[in-house]
């Protein structure tokens, strides 16, 4: 179980899960563009899944992230030990920036995940997000959490919006290598398919990047009066200071 | 009455000769009784077997890990002997057998084109210009069949037909397709096969591999080979290794010419040291010059690169008819101004004429001032016609890697303009004398592969070197070594004993002498100069005054070497200068021996062409009356003239004929 190839399978298999997750997450987020009702209803439905499913999924994702990160850490440690001294001149013929910086982009992604959870899921950074309540999108007219306005409020802080966009760019680069590499590690890639898979991985990365980034970008654009597409039927809780 | 008298004279003469040889040096070839096709079978039956339980009591040293050494070590290990295998490279997989490109012959007759064991035997004897032993060559042809099977089973990826069966091609000098090949890297693939078998034995502990170790002397106790002295090339440590038998599988001596197709590390030291300890050295003047090498480009050159002979299957060799055209681009020389000299002189073999013949023809053309390229030492090998006929893709498929190699070295694209080729030293048929059991004249010292003299006579056919190395290692020595081992009792050799200690001391002294040499000239410069002398006077064409001159020059050069050599560093470390100095030191002595042998062989045969012995139209003239023998040299001491002995070659099966490829 300690073999290098076993660790690589772990990376690839957990990678598949996370690659799939980010896509679903992105598709969910994009409902912001459909308006307050859509996103709030979607978020409410997710949060009210039966506990075993909700917490099972959360735990599963968490475990995948942890395995992915811990294995990566082990691999990197072994790799450094395998080449204790680097060349005076370090060059590459084929490997690009994203392939060579998986450790960096990965670590930043891990930091981002922690921040993101604290920011929007657990909401310890801005506890006032918990007070955002609305009936828009509620299935039965009762007050539910106003996710839509939380997102708007969240990205109205410039530094946070920029941080999110940068992190999504790093994710894009991470995926550009990771998605194609995943096929290789699982023995499902051939040289004749490599360029196609590389293209697919790159395209996938960019889709994820644009899909996620478009929201903070639009929020910022609206803040500076460039667009006015994000309408908000601001409930009682919607206060300007957020 | 007159006839019987003559016959009895002849018998007397033969007896006397045999007696003389046996008396002075044990040159009993031990050729088995019986008709030629049965000799090997009879010999295997009459060979003594070593009891399986006793095999592990015998220690065997194998020096060299090429096709002969690797296959011998693996097979002997498999049989249960304790084997110590040594190589100077950093891993056994790098021995120079790896560089053989074209293929390996096997008398399988898969092509149904009339091949047979007997035909391969005959072609090899004839190709060797009737200077090899019938019995050995026949055994080689018989074993060729098993070699192919063995290698296929090991996973050697030979070329295949679309139906999945093995593909063949015809190869220099053969009119049947019997050559098996793995692209242009047959030697590599066969060596990797032997290496994988060897690795299996190393893993099992039956063979102990010692890499970066160079054999510097042979330990002889009471006339028997009992071990070797090695220098660890990484640490400089000199060490005594004892064993019940020593197998020298150390390749040829082509590097005595400095520029050759051999690897830089190939050297004569192991066999030459055995010669100095009493092993006869046979036919050192039989050297093979390969016609298709990339020409020399300048003084910096450290080696010559061979282009597989298979290129001659589709390439046409030519030079301009007029010397004035030599400077022109080949495309500017019209068809009728080109001289396809091989096709002209040898209509039935054409561009596939044997190596010695096509090499010499190239030299003649260049001597006439019709050579092309830098220094006028080159001829064209033109693929234009084949590309027109078969298409560039077919040619690329057949020889792509060779064309790439050619372009890397010369910077020229051979699909667009003809290659330039010139002959270079490639293989040495001479080597330590061995009997039918592959044992040298020192009991217990066996010699396999290119290092021995036995199978190729005066000239080797293409695709036969790999065959011989593997035949000796896989299929001969495992049987024949028993004939010796059963005559001795295993072990009991004291590595601290007098003989071992003395041998070690002499090696130590030699090494320390060289390390302390603080003269002015590098060993490389001596090697280069020796090579120039050898190529000039003992190369493709030789003559008496030239050889005598060469001997004098080599002696002077050796004196200078002893006085003026410069070696830096010390002996207890990796020291490339020291390594080379030791090898060059032996080459200097050996070069003289080679010239002496060439001088005394007053005939032209195979790779040995003496200008005094040729027909009017420049063909070699063999002298079967006086020279149908192997010349075996016995070391008589430093500064002494070595003694020349003869082993007569008896031809019972083939009729000696003029080798004609017209």
């Amino acid at each position: 179980m300690q073999s290098s190839l076993f660790k690589k399978y772990l990376m690839a298999l957990t990678g598949i899960v996370l690659v799939g997750f980010v896509f679903v997450h992105m598709a969910g987020n994009l409902q912001v563009l459909l308006g307050q009702e859509a996103i709030n209803a979607y978020a409410h439905a997710l949060q009210n899944l039966p506990a075993p499913i909700l917490w099972g999924s959360r735990l599963f994702l968490l475990v995948c992230v942890l395995i992915h990160a811990i294995t990566a850490y082990q691999l990197i440690k072994e790799n450094r030990a395998a080449r204790p001294r680097s060349n005076e001149v370090e060059v590459t013929k084929r490997a690009g920036w994203s392939s060579l910086r998986m450790g960096l982009t990965g670590s930043l992604m891990l930091a981002f995940i922690v921040f993101h959870l604290l920011h929007f899921t657990i909401r310890t950074i801005f506890p006032e997000y918990n007070d955002l309540k609305t009936t828009v999108g509620s299935p039965d007219g009762s007050e539910i959490h106003d996710v839509y306005n939380m997102i708007l409020a969240g990205f109205r802080v410039d530094a946070i919006a920029i941080f999110y966009v940068i992190c999504m760019f790093l994710l894009c680069r991470h995926l550009a290598h990771g998605v194609s590499s995943m096929f290789q590690t699982l023995g499902l890639r051939s040289e004749s398919w490599r360029s196609r898979l590389d293209l697919f991985a790159s395209a996938y990365g960019w889709i994820i990047f644009f899909g996620f980034s478009i929201i903070p970008v639009l929020v910022m654009a609206q803040k500076y009066g460039l667009v006015t597409c994000l309408e908000s039927s601001c409930g009682s809780s919607c206060s300007a200071n957020l | 009455m007159g006839w019987s008298l003559a016959l009895s004279h002849l018998v007397d003469l033969l007896a006397l000769r045999t007696f003389k040889s046996i008396h002075l040096m044990n040159l009993d070839s031990k050729i088995p009784e019986g008709p030629l096709p049965d000799k090997w079978e009879n010999h295997r039956f009459s060979s003594k077997l070593v009891n399986p339980a006793n095999k592990r009591k015998f220690n065997i040293i194998v020096v060299g890990s090429g096709l002969a050494g690797g296959s011998a070590a693996a097979t002997l290990g498999e049989l249960g002997y304790n084997v110590d295998c040594f190589c100077y490279q950093d891993t056994p997989r790098r021995a120079h057998s790896i560089a053989a490109q074209g293929g390996i012959n096997g008398a399988k007759n898969y092509q149904n084109d009339g091949d047979s064991v007997h035909r391969l035997f005959y072609d090899t004897i004839k190709g060797g210009d009737f200077r090899s032993r019938e019995a050995n060559v026949h055994r080689l042809a018989q074993n060729s069949v098993n070699i192919i099977d063995q290698c296929v089973a090991q996973g050697v990826p030979f070329a295949r037909e679309y139906g999945g069966l093995l593909a063949n091609r015809s190869f220099g000098g053969a009119q049947v397709s019997r050559t098996f090949y793995a692209r242009g890297q047959t030697g590599q693939q066969l060596l990797l096969g032997a290496y994988s078998a060897l690795s299996r034995q190393i893993a099992s502990g039956q063979v102990k591999m010692h890499v970066r170790q160079e054999m510097l002397d042979l330990i002889v106790i009471d006339g028997h080979a009992k071990g070797i002295i090695t220098r660890n090339l990484a640490t400089g440590e000199l060490k005594v290794w004892t064993a019940d038998a020593v197998l020298l599988c150390t390749g040829g001596y082509g590097n005595v010419y400095y520029l050759s197709t051999n690897a830089i590390g190939c050297n004569v030291t192991a066999t030459f040291r055995a010669y100095r300890r009493g092993a006869g050295f046979a036919n050192p003047c039989f050297t093979q010059i390969h016609p298709t090498c990339i020409p020399v480009s300048g003084d910096h050159q450290s080696k010559l690169t061979l282009m597989s002979e298979s290129l001659r299957n589709d390439g046409r060799v030519w030079v301009p008819k007029n010397a004035e055209d030599c400077g022109k681009a080949p495309s500017e020389i019209p068809e009728d101004a080109r001289d396809y000299y091989l096709e002209r002189k040898y209509p039935s073999f054409g561009n596939l004429a044997p190596r010695d013949i096509s090499s010499r023809s190239a030299k003649e053309a260049c001597d006439e001032g019709r050579g092309v390229g830098p220094g006028g030492r080159g001829v064209y090998l033109d693929f234009g016609d084949s590309i027109n006929r078969l298409g560039e893709n077919t040619i690329r498929e057949r020889y792509g890697n060779l064309f790439e190699m050619y372009e890397r070295i010369t910077g020229e694209n051979a699909y667009q303009r003809p290659m330039r080729i010139y002959p270079a030293i490639h293989y040495t048929m001479g080597g330590l004398w061995v009997d039918y059991n592959l044992m040298s004249s020192i009991p217990g010292c066996f010699v396999l592969g290119e290092a021995n003299f036995s199978d190729h006579g005066a000239n080797r056919l293409g695709a036969s070197a790999l065959m011989q190395g593997l035949s000796d290692g896989y299929f001969v020595i495992p049987y024949t070594i028993g004939n010796y081992l059963t005559t001795i009792s295993p072990g009991g050799i004291d590595p601290e004993g007098e003989a071992a200690r003395e041998t070690l001391e002499s090696v130590k002294q030699r090494v320390s002498q060289m390390v302390s040499a603080k003269g002015k000239r590098s060993s490389r410069s001596y090697h280069k100069e020796l090579g120039q002398i050898m190529w000039e006077y003992a190369g493709m064409a030789r003559n008496e005054p030239g050889l005598k001159k060469a001997i004098g020059q080599i002696q002077d050069l050796r004196d200078d070497f002893n006085k003026n050599l410069l070696v830096t560093g010390h002996g207890e470390e990796l020291n490339m200068e020291l390594e080379r100095s030791g090898r060059v030191r032996d080459f200097l002595d050996f070069g003289e021996l080679l010239c002496r042998d060439a001088l005394d062989r007053n005939e032209s045969c195979g790779g040995h062409f003496r200008e005094e012995f040729q027909t009017e139209d420049g063909e070699a003239t063999r002298n079967d009356d006086d020279f149908a023998h192997a010349a075996v040299w016995e070391f008589k001491g430093d500064g002494e003239t070595p003694a020349r002995h003869e082993e007569d070659l008896k031809f019972e099966e083939v009729k000696l004929a003029v080798r004609s490829y017209k």
Binding site: Q2, S3, S4, L5, K8, E78, A81, A82, R83, P84, N87, E88, V89, E90, R94, A95, S99, L100, Q184, G187, E191 | E78, Q89, D90, T91, I98, N146, D149, Q150, V152, A153, Q154, G155, P157, A159, R160, E161, G164, L165, L166, Q185, Q188, S196, A197, S199, I202, M209, A234, H300, Q301, S302, T305, Y474, F475, S525, L566, T568, L574, M576, E577
Partner: protein, 250 residues
């Protein structure tokens, strides 16, 4: 040509290494990289200095002995070329060339530019063979091998074991070597009987030797003088997974 050379010097495995600078004039464009080093060594010798140790043997690109990182590239910047086949016409007059040994923990430096690559032998000893006793082979044509399979096996078998894959890998991974060796035998019908144990044992030996992990950069294949394809790594990954699963469930 005049060249400025920055060459790694290291007295032994335990010593610290350092760079030394040399100027070499009068280099022929037609000489090979190793012949250029020969020339440098002759120059050093004439100056009474110790020459630079480097590995080399056949000098025709097949034995795999030569190594060297040249300007950061294993075997130099040219593709599909070993150091011995790299010719000086690929450099410019006045160039500065940095020459280092192949760097990996599994390839300790012996001296200067010479490294010990016996870890590769250990990988082969673990399973890079087909168990067949001498003399026990069936007729060569008894087992047809489809041409395509034979060609693919040959593509992998071309590996010269030089270690450029390890040297060019930022993680010093030996996956390309191991996969080529295992792939060659696993591709052929003769190699099927030991296929599973072969991959398991060879990978274990590879890990044991201290090589790094493959991160699918593809640098190995780009540096490989024989252009061994990454397909063999994918195949090894596949074969290993199958073998492991079979082992767990048997």
């Amino acid at each position: 040509m005049k060249l400025f050379l920055k060459v790694w010097k290291q007295d032994g495995p335990e010593n610290e290494g350092r760079f030394e600078s040399h100027v070499l004039d009068g280099v022929s464009e037609d000489s090979s990289f190793l012949e250029m080093l020969d020339q440098l060594n002759e120059q050093l010798l004439n100056e009474g200095k110790e020459p630079i140790a480097f590995d080399h043997d056949c000098r025709e690109g097949i034995c795999g002995t030569c190594s060297l990182n040249i300007n950061g590239f294993a075997h130099g910047p040219e593709n599909s070329t070993t150091t011995c086949q790299l010719h000086m016409r690929k450099f410019e007059d006045g160039d500065t060339i940095t020459i280092e040994p192949f760097r990996a923990k599994a390839f300790p430096v012996v001296k200067d530019l010479v490294v010990n690559r016996s870890a590769f032998d250990k990988i082969i000893q673990a399973g890079g063979f087909i168990t067949v006793r001498t003399g026990s082979a069936p007729d060569g044509n008894a087992l047809p091998v489809p041409k395509k399979d034979a060609d693919l096996a040959m593509d992998a078998a071309q590996c010269i074991g030089c270690g450029a894959c390890v040297a060019s890998c930022k993680n010093a991974s030996a996956m390309l070597f191991t996969s080529a060796k295992a792939g060659h035998l696993n591709m052929l019908p003769q190699g099927q009987a030991e296929k599973d144990s072969r991959v398991l044992n060879m990978v274990a030996a590879m890990d044991e030797a201290g090589f790094g992990n493959c991160r699918n950069y593809g640098e190995c294949s780009a540096a490989c003088p024989k252009d061994i394809s990454l397909d063999y790594i994918a195949k090894l990954n596949r074969d290993y997974a199958k073998a492991k699963v079979k082992k767990v469930f048997s």
